[in-house]
Subunit: 258 residues, 2 copies
C-alpha cells in the first residue's frame, strides 16, 4: 500500500510555512483559546456529545508542552488528560484497547490522550513484540473502536506531532545539558534519536491503515512549539464550531405541558 | 438474510432429547463440575488465557439458577459474575460497549455475563429505542469487539437459554403465586410473556448477524433446569479441555541458566 503524500514524513513539513510569524500566531492562539473556553462550556452544558483528542509523536516531539499551551485556561471540569505509560501487569492481562476504552470521554467532556492505543502498533513493532499479522489485527480493531466511539457521539481527533530527525536529536541532547529539562532525560535517549527512521516506518504504516475518511490524522509541523500549538488549537476549535453545541432548554421548558 | 436452521427458535428444541433422564444427567453434571474445578485451577495458574461466558435469554429463562447450578463449588477467586442491569446515567453517556469492556476477564479468569452487550440490540429494539441502521452498526461493533477479545486470548462462549413461549408464561405466572419466587416478580411481567414473538424476532436477528465461525451461539434447551445446566457445563468443560491450560514452570526453572 502506497503512503498518501500527506502522510509521507520525509516530505511533510516540520516547520511553519514561510511568512507565518511567531508573534502574530501567538496572539491568534490567545484568541482561539478564548473561543475554545466558550465552546467547551457549551459542549459541557449540552451534554450530548464529546471529543477525544489523540496525541502521538516521537520522543521529544513536545506532547506535554502542547497540552499545556492549548488547554491551560480551559475549565478543567470539562477536560481530562490521560497519559498512557508502559502498561501495568493488569493492563497487559487484557486486550490492548481495554485500558484506553475505560478513559474515553462521557458526553459533555473533552479528553486528551497523551500517547494512546497507537503505542500498541508503534513501539511494540519497533521492539519486535508483535508480528505483522498481529499488527494487522490491531489496525482493524482500532478502526472498529474509533468507529464505535464516533457512532456514539464522540468526535475523535488524531494529531501526529511531526519533528524532523535533526530537531529531535537536538532536543534529546538538550535534555542532557539544560537543567530545566534534565528531569525528562531517560537512559537510552541517545539511542532513541537513532531510531527516527524506524519510527517513521511504523508511523507511516499507522497512517496508511488507520485513516478512514471519518477519522483522519492531522500531521502537525512541530519543530516550532508556537506553531504546533496553534495548529492543534485551531483544528480543535474548528471542530467544535462545526459541532455547534447548544445550551439545552431549561428543565422547566422540558417539563412544560404541551 | 435467512435464519440458519439451528437458530430458528420456533423449531429449536426447548427440552432434552427423548431418552435423556434427569437423574443420570444430574450425576453426570456432578462429575463435570469436578472437572471444571480442576480446569479452572489450571487456567488460573497458567495465567495466559481467559474465558468469557455470555448468558442471554428471555425473562424467566433461568439465568440466575443456571449460574448457581454450574458455578457453585468452583473457587470464586477464579470466577466473576457480572449482572448487567438497566444502564446508569454514566453508562449511557458512553458508547454501549464501554461498560461491558471494563468487566472482561483478565488472564487466568472465567467471567460470566448475566445479560450482556446483547441487551443493546434486544430490548432496545423491542422498545424502539434504536432503529435498523443503528442495530446494524452495533452488530458490527459487537463482532469486532468479540474478535478483539478472542485475539487477546479470551475464549468467548455465548449461550441462549431457550424457553418455549408456553414455559415462559407458566414461569412468569408462578412468580405471582410461589412465595419463594415472588421476590422476582416485577410489574409488567404478565406483558413480557406476550412479547415472546417480538423477542424471538430480535434474538434471531442477533444470531444471524453475530455468529461468526469463531464465535457461534449455543442454543440451550432450557424448559428443564437440570438439562440446561448440563448443556452449559458440558460445553464450558469441553472448551477448557480443548484449551488445555498448563501449570507454568516454577520461577526457579524460569530463571535457570541455559
Amino acid at each position: 500500500m502506497k503512503t498518501p503524500a500527506a502522510y509521507n514524513l520525509l516530505k511533510a513539513p516540520s516547520r511553519a510555512p514561510g511568512g507565518v510569524e511567531k508573534e502574530d500566531t501567538e496572539s491568534e492562539l490567545e484568541r482561539i483559546r478564548e473561543d475554545l473556553g466558550e465552546l467547551q462550556y457549551r459542549l459541557y452544558a449540552e451534554n450530548r456529545r464529546s471529543v477525544l483528542v489523540v496525541l502521538q509523536g516521537m520522543d521529544a516531539s513536545g506532547k506535554d508542552g502542547l497540552i499545556r499551551r492549548v488547554f491551560s485556561g480551559i475549565n478543567p471540569q470539562g477536560v481530562q488528560v490521560h497519559a498512557f505509560k508502559e502498561p501495568t501487569e493488569e493492563e497487559l492481562a487484557h486486550d490492548f484497547l481495554w485500558r484506553v476504552h475505560h478513559h474515553t470521554p462521557r458526553t459533555g467532556m473533552i479528553h486528551v490522550f497523551n500517547r494512546s492505543h497507537y503505542e500498541d502498533v508503534l513501539i511494540t513493532r519497533v521492539l519486535g513484540l508483535i508480528d505483522e499479522k498481529e499488527a494487522k489485527h490491531r489496525f482493524e480493531a482500532i478502526n472498529a473502536f474509533e468507529n464505535l466511539l464516533q457512532q456514539a457521539g464522540t468526535t475523535v481527533l488524531k494529531f501526529y506531532l511531526h519533528v524532523s530527525e535533526k530537531e529531535q536529536r537536538e532536543r534529546l541532547t538538550e535534555r542532557v545539558h539544560d537543567p530545566t529539562k534534565q528531569w525528562k532525560y531517560e537512559a537510552g535517549d541517545e539511542d532513541k534519536a537513532k531510531q527516527w527512521p524506524e519510527y517513521r516506518d511504523v508511523y507511516e504504516d499507522v497512517f496508511r491503515h488507520c485513516s478512514p475518511k471519518s477519522c483522519p490524522w492531522t500531521i502537525v509541523p512541530s519543530d516550532q512549539n508556537w506553531y504546533k500549538a496553534y495548529v492543534v488549537a485551531k483544528t480543535l476549535c474548528q471542530t467544535l464550531q462545526d459541532m455547534d453545541p447548544r445550551f439545552p432548554p431549561t428543565k422547566a421548558e422540558k417539563h412544560k405541558p404541551e
